[in-house]
């Protein structure tokens, strides 16, 4: 059984249910490979021993009615996990051990999943390359010294390198979809309110949403079924009827109207991306779907709007890391001095930059010009989508304006880094679901993704469209295990 790690999540579930393989075998296989893959730096915290115990316990008393029966999973280190260190990629939480479990990871545990570790991410999920993590860069398994995307970079890296059969990330402005696109994997950001935010270290509360990152669309449908739930511990959780995403997954997109927003044709976008986009459109048409040009006139304002709203919320959300109650504390002459030293030493540059931007845009005298204006534009962006959805069932765009870049290439140019989120950010501002699926490669052989955006709570529809494209596009990830000696 040397090929356990090559099996898809849904295949592993089937084989465990058929007792062809045990949870222990599966868990051991992924842990073995994880141990050989330290060079990727995907993990912040390993939970291997504990996971093996849990796997044995599962095998002794298996419950095959679970959706993830004895399946090992590593998760982004933004989810609080009971008694397992949770750092959010920050020094300020370097030694933080939650006494509680996030709702999303609890849902995984309740369905028989086993947590094998916590995956690297940009500090407080602020970044697009995983380079802001206190725990160091993460390697993209596609090629050495290539970023895995961010902020869920440890997740995309571990998933593409098959250190975990599936994973979960969080997406505030593209943090699931962009790393998925950079690593040739599938990433789904559900509708805001679908997955509970309880126990997820907050970045920007009105935008944050957890979601699956998987090898294929079918696995995403399965993971979404597990993690999406109404939760009265999160006031923004929405009590809608959740679908049976896996059972209802099908590739029939006949008669579906798919919108193509002209505003997503940005200057300087590589030719390969445009070609890929056209390829996607052709697949849709070949399968009975209809392509309709649509107008999202306020798209250009999405990025500046996002970089006001997200830092504003973050500046307030991160105020609790003050050295008083938990986490890192530096010694100070007095309270103010302690605050200043703790936060200066405990936060990295990108986090400080965003706290400062956020504090500025909320300051009296600037609030109306920035935060309030941004909220109004946010409403306009949402209206754009509402208008478009009167004509179409879903929207197809590229996931990112470029493929993965080299480590260090953009660290000194935050704006160029921010531009990476240009296709993903509007979706968070509008609270909509979107999925990125691998669709091709650029001239360097790096993966590129297509994004399918849906109506609110219409995850089934975009899963089906993505499933159809996936079946027809014949994408194959070229990973040669360069990091394993």
């Amino acid at each position: 059984m040397s090929n356990i790690i090559d099996l898809k999540l849904f295949e592993l579930v089937e084989k465990i249910k058929k007792k062809e393989i045990s949870s222990n075998e599966v868990t051991k296989a992924f842990i073995d490979r994880s141990q050989k893959s330290k060079k990727l730096n995907s993990y912040i915290t390993e939970n291997f021993e504990n996971a093996l115990q849990k796997a044995k316990q599962f095998d002794e008393k298996p419950d095959f009615n679970k959706k993830l029966p004895g399946i090992p999973l590593a998760v982004k280190d933004l989810f609080c996990t009971k008694n397992i260190r949770t750092t959010a990629g920050s020094k300020i939480l370097e030694n933080f051990f939650p006494t509680y479990e996030s709702t999303v990871t609890q849902n995984i545990l309740d369905e028989g999943g086993i947590i094998i570790g916590k995956l690297n991410c940009d500090e407080f999920a602020m970044g697009s390359s995983n380079e802001t993590s206190f725990f160091g860069n993460v390697q993209n398994p596609i090629s050495e010294n290539l970023v895995p995307g961010g902020s869920s970079g440890g997740s995309s890296s571990a998933l593409a390198a098959k250190l975990t059969p599936a994973t979960i990330g969080t997406d505030t402005g593209g943090s699931i979809r962009q790393p998925a696109s950079f690593t040739g994997t599938v990433g789904l950001k559900p509708t805001y309110g679908s997955c509970s935010r309880y126990g997820i270290v907050a970045f920007a509360s009105s935008l944050d949403q957890a979601g699956p990152m998987t090898q294929n669309v079918k696995d995403s449908a399965l993971m979404l079924e597990v993690i999406s739930s109404y939760d009265n511990k999160d006031s923004t959780s929405v009590d809608f009827k959740r679908g049976q995403y896996l059972k209802d997954l099908n590739e029939n997109i006949k008669g579906k109207k798919i919108g193509i927003p002209k505003q997503y044709r940005v200057d300087g976008m590589p030719k390969e991306i445009d070609e890929l986009w056209k390829k996607g459109m052709k697949i849709i048409e070949d399968n009975g779907g209809e392509i309709i040009e649509i107008n999202l006139p306020n798209t250009n304002y999405a990025l500046p709007t996002y970089y006001i709203v997200a830092p504003a919320e973050a500046s307030s959300n991160l105020a609790r890391y003050d050295g008083v109650k938990y986490g890192f504390r530096s010694k100070g002459k007095n309270l103010i001095d302690m605050y200043e030293k703790t936060r200066s030493e405990g936060f990295g540059d990108e986090v400080k930059r965003r706290i400062m931007i956020g504090t500025y845009v909320l300051s009296s005298g600037y609030y109306d010009a920035y935060y309030l204006k941004a909220q109004k534009v946010r409403r306009l962006i949402k209206n754009d989508f509402d208008q478009a959805y009167k004509k179409v069932d879903a929207i197809l765009t590229p996931s990112t304006p470029s493929s993965a870049f080299k480590i260090g290439e953009k660290t000194n140019d935050p704006v160029s880094m921010y531009l990476n989120d240009i296709f993903t950010v509007p979706i968070n501002l509008a609270g909509l679901p979107a999925i990125s699926i691998p669709a091709g490669h650029d001239k360097s052989g790096y993966p590129l993704g297509l994004q399918v955006i849906g109506k609110a709570f219409d995850e089934q529809n975009i899963l089906n469209i993505a499933y159809s494209i996936e079946k027809n596009i014949n994408f194959k990830n070229n990973i040669n295990d360069w990091w394993i000696n």
Partner: protein
């Protein structure tokens, strides 16, 4: 049980030839009476061991989220109705950002631009009539924890039991003009909230505190002067002292040709003075913005109406009813309704006995007894049942008012039954005319000189005869009958 002063004196500050009027507005922080906190399920019990009434949400652990306690929302709406105020169907919780050791989130969740309750009015019962005080708004917010600086010489300790407890901030318009009005306003607010059961109004435990806004202006001026805000004053007495000091300070500044700086000041209760805490320039920039963890609070019409239907009779209505139904004077009615427990006690007593006597006995003897023993009416050593029995004994002529006072004293030792005391001690009033005649005849025959003097016109001696009869009957003679018989015999 304080009595209103008979006069509502104008409160003016005189300097040289100028008279200044003092303009006062209050921001009262009233702790919502609730089992659990505004956004968490931790209990709110006062006086518990430090940091025992605390949840993960209250300590602001990573990923913890606030969830609105519906009961606190109902309490705020109830209070709004009690203040005759507009209930806003949509209100928004904002974050007020600042750093402090006892503020775990680094922000307080409060309502800034869109409070749950809008404008209303409170009616003050002043000696010369009623006065309406405008209410600007009522909003809900979280309380902070407590920083303790005086236990450990090197460290500040933090108790988060109070962190997250629901407060109602009730902001008045600048309609108050004197220390008496401030006293009356606070007591009225407290009374309304206690009637509604929305705040226990316990100032010692900090359930009711206020920030006081004070400005002065020359008498007759229409424009408001620049105000100073005195933070966190926790008793009516301190409020009055602080206002008096601050108003005089402001007048002095103006009289010396200076101007008032808008600033926040602290009241030092030991030195009886206010001190500058921070000027307007140094004011915190709280960076208010809507809390993205909470959706706007939208209230259904039916939800509000259901609460309205269950509002109990409030002091103003009760006062009106007491005046109309029991023919009490407004003054008497005020005293009886101002405290909900007093009004309950009164209604219990008067239900089974004479209303007039019940009013007099409660506001007279009973209040004196409670004052003397420093007790609340709920702890009264004499139950309403026994007090009404006593009143019935008087009313039926079984005992005299004077004997009743003696019995009242005996009753206060263990809530004894007045009927039994009368029986055991033989204190029944002597109301048999024949018996009384015997005594009177005896007194008349023993005092021939006084009889003569009386008949020659010394009317005042009538009292002497009454006194002698009462004395010889051991105080039990029915005074009315004694009067009648004496008059007949002597004239």
């Amino acid at each position: 049980m304080d009595k209103l002063s008979k006069e509502n004196k104008e409160y003016l500050i005189k300097r040289n030839t100028n008279e200044y009027e003092v303009v006062i507005g209050l921001e009262v922080h009233a702790q919502v009476l609730s089992e659990s906190k505004l956004f968490s399920t931790s209990p709110t019990k006062f006086g518990s061991e430090p940091n025992t009434q605390v949840s993960l949400v209250d300590v602001a652990f990573p990923g913890m989220l606030p969830v609105i306690n519906e009961f606190c929302i109902k309490q705020a709406i109830k209070t709004g109705i009690g203040l005759n105020a507009k209930i806003n169907k949509k209100s928004i919780f904002d974050r007020k950002n600042y750093f402090y050791a006892d503020l775990p989130q680094g922000y307080q969740i409060s309502q800034y631009k869109n409070p749950i309750v809008g404008e209303g009015t409170v009616t003050l019962d002043l000696p010369n009539g009623e006065k309406k005080i405008g209410i600007e708004r009522l909003h809900l917010e979280q309380d902070a924890g407590k920083s303790i600086h005086d236990i450990d010489p090197n460290n500040t300790l933090v108790d988060l039991n109070r962190s997250g407890v629901a407060l109602m901030e009730i902001v008045s318009k600048p309609d108050l003009r004197s220390l008496d009005e401030v006293n009356s306003y606070i007591k009225k607010l407290r009374s309304i909230m206690r009637y509604l059961g929305t705040c226990d109004g316990n100032m010692q435990e900090g359930s009711l505190r206020a920030d006081v806004n004070v400005s002065v202006r020359k008498k007759g001026s229409k424009e408001l002067g620049t105000r100073c805000e005195i933070k966190n004053v926790n008793s009516i007495k301190f409020m009055q002292m602080a206002i008096d000091y601050e108003a005089n300070r402001q007048v002095d500044v103006i009289e010396e040709g200076g101007s008032i700086d808008q600033e926040t000041r602290l009241f030092d209760t030991k030195k009886n003075e206010t001190r500058s805490m921070r000027s307007k320039e140094d004011a915190h920039d709280y960076r208010y913005f809507p809390d993205p963890d909470l959706l706007p609070l939208e209230l259904d019409e039916n939800f509000i109406n259901d609460i309205k239907k269950n509002i109990p009779e409030l002091p103003d209505e009760k006062k009106k009813r007491f005046i109309e139904k029991f023919k009490l004077s407004p003054y008497e009615a005020n005293i009886l309704v101002s405290d909900i427990d007093t009004s309950k006690f009164f209604e219990e007593v008067s239900k089974n006995s004479d209303v007039k006597l019940a009013t007099n006995w409660i506001t007279g003897e009973l209040f004196a007894l409670l004052n003397e023993k420093n007790l609340e009416i709920t702890e009264s050593p004499i139950s309403s049942k026994n007090l009404s029995k006593l009143i019935n004994l008087i009313k039926k002529g079984i005992i005299s008012g004077k004997i009743a006072k003696t019995i009242f004293e005996l009753m206060s030792d263990g809530d004894k039954d007045p009927e039994k005391i009368v029986e055991q001690k033989g204190l029944k009033q002597q109301s048999d005319p024949k018996e009384l005649e015997k005594i009177i005849d005896k007194i008349i025959s023993e005092n021939p000189k006084n009889v003569e003097l009386y008949k020659s016109g010394k009317d005042k001696l009538f009292g002497f005869f009454v006194g002698q009869v009462m004395k010889s009957s051991g105080g039990k003679a029915n005074p009315q009958l004694v009067n009648e018989i004496l008059k007949k015999k002597l004239n």
